[in-house]
Amino acid sequence: MKNPFDQLDKTLEHRVRLQIMSVLVSNNSYDFNSLKDLLGVTDGNLASHIKALEKEKYITVNKSFVDRKPNTKYKITERGRQAFRKHLDALEAVVKNQKI
């Protein structure tokens, strides 16, 4: 059997990134400020994790302006959805292996 630890996604090992992905799989799109409130993290922290996910092409960014204020929305990509699912399976396997 393959070692489940090898199946874990290095990009998704950070909890904040995992949480961002969790929000985006279950919602059509989500904006920066709502994400910040939900996760309870700082602007800079969230921005850096979002950048990492964007670099992996796990999410797409859509910048627009509402009443001249920037309104940035994020969506998960198909690639991101698959990576998230695979990481989730690996997490489950890791935890299950431990229990036996």
């Binding site: 909890r15 995992l18 969790s22 279950s26 059509n28 709502s34």
Partner: protein, 207 residues
């Protein structure tokens, strides 16, 4: 490599994020109860204007002719609506502060759009009905469209809202069959059902 319990925490945080991000949890149960009470007060006022001195259970055959009564009914309806929305916003905002979240976010926005589509369509449809003189079918149409709006928005709310929606639609269809009892069914649907729903939500989630 992280500790095993760290991975378990990862899994748990995924679950809470998926749930919390998609649901509007700040909606206060007590605001449902208050909306129900306002609806009953409004219905009693409307009854005194339209039916009195007939019993509220009497089947009404003649329809409302005088324009002045219609205007007064409209004013009552707007007052009930404004009071319900106002109380709902106030109590939900208080609950949001208690839970350390914001009332207005992506989820609330989606929720409002999903609610608004059947409500606006239904509202316009009812205005057209009233304009054409079909007063008897207005109250059932209110209930049916309101039920549809609740079901449409229930993806972003607690599950109980969907059942409230089903009940409103069933009540609306019965009311449409018994068109003369419009006010009675309206009171049941917007008054009694809201109080029951609000009380259930209050005891399940707010206490």
């Amino acid at each position: 490599m992280k500790e095993i319990h760290e991975y378990e925490k990862d899994l748990a945080s995924i679950r809470t994020m998926m749930e919390r991000s998609g649901k509007f949890i700040s909606l206060s149960g007590m605001s449902g109860v208050m909306a129900g009470i306002y609806a009953i007060v409004g219905a009693v006022a409307a009854y005194r204007m339209v039916y009195y001195p007939d019993s509220p259970l009497a089947y009404r055959i003649e329809s409302i002719e005088e324009a002045s009564i219609l205007t007064k009914l409209g004013v009552i309806a707007i007052l009930v609506l404004a009071a319900s929305i106002g109380t709902g916003l106030w109590l939900s905002n208080r609950k949001a502060i208690k839970h350390d979240t914001k009332l207005w976010n992506s989820t609330t926005k989606t929720l409002m759009i999903n609610l608004a589509i059947p409500l606006v369509a239904g509202g316009l449809f009812i205005l057209i009905l009233l304009n054409a003189g079909h007063y008897g079918i207005a109250a059932p149409a209110c209930l049916i469209f309101y039920g549809l709006a609740l079901i449409n928005a229930s993806a972003n709310l607690y599950d109980e809202v969907r059942y409230l929606g089903y009940c409103e639609i069933i009540l609306g269809l019965i009311a449409a069959y018994l068109a003369g009892y419009g006010l009675l069914f309206w009171t049941l649907g917007f008054g009694v059902l809201h109080i029951v729903y609000g009380a259930v939500m209050y005891f399940r989630y707010d206490k």
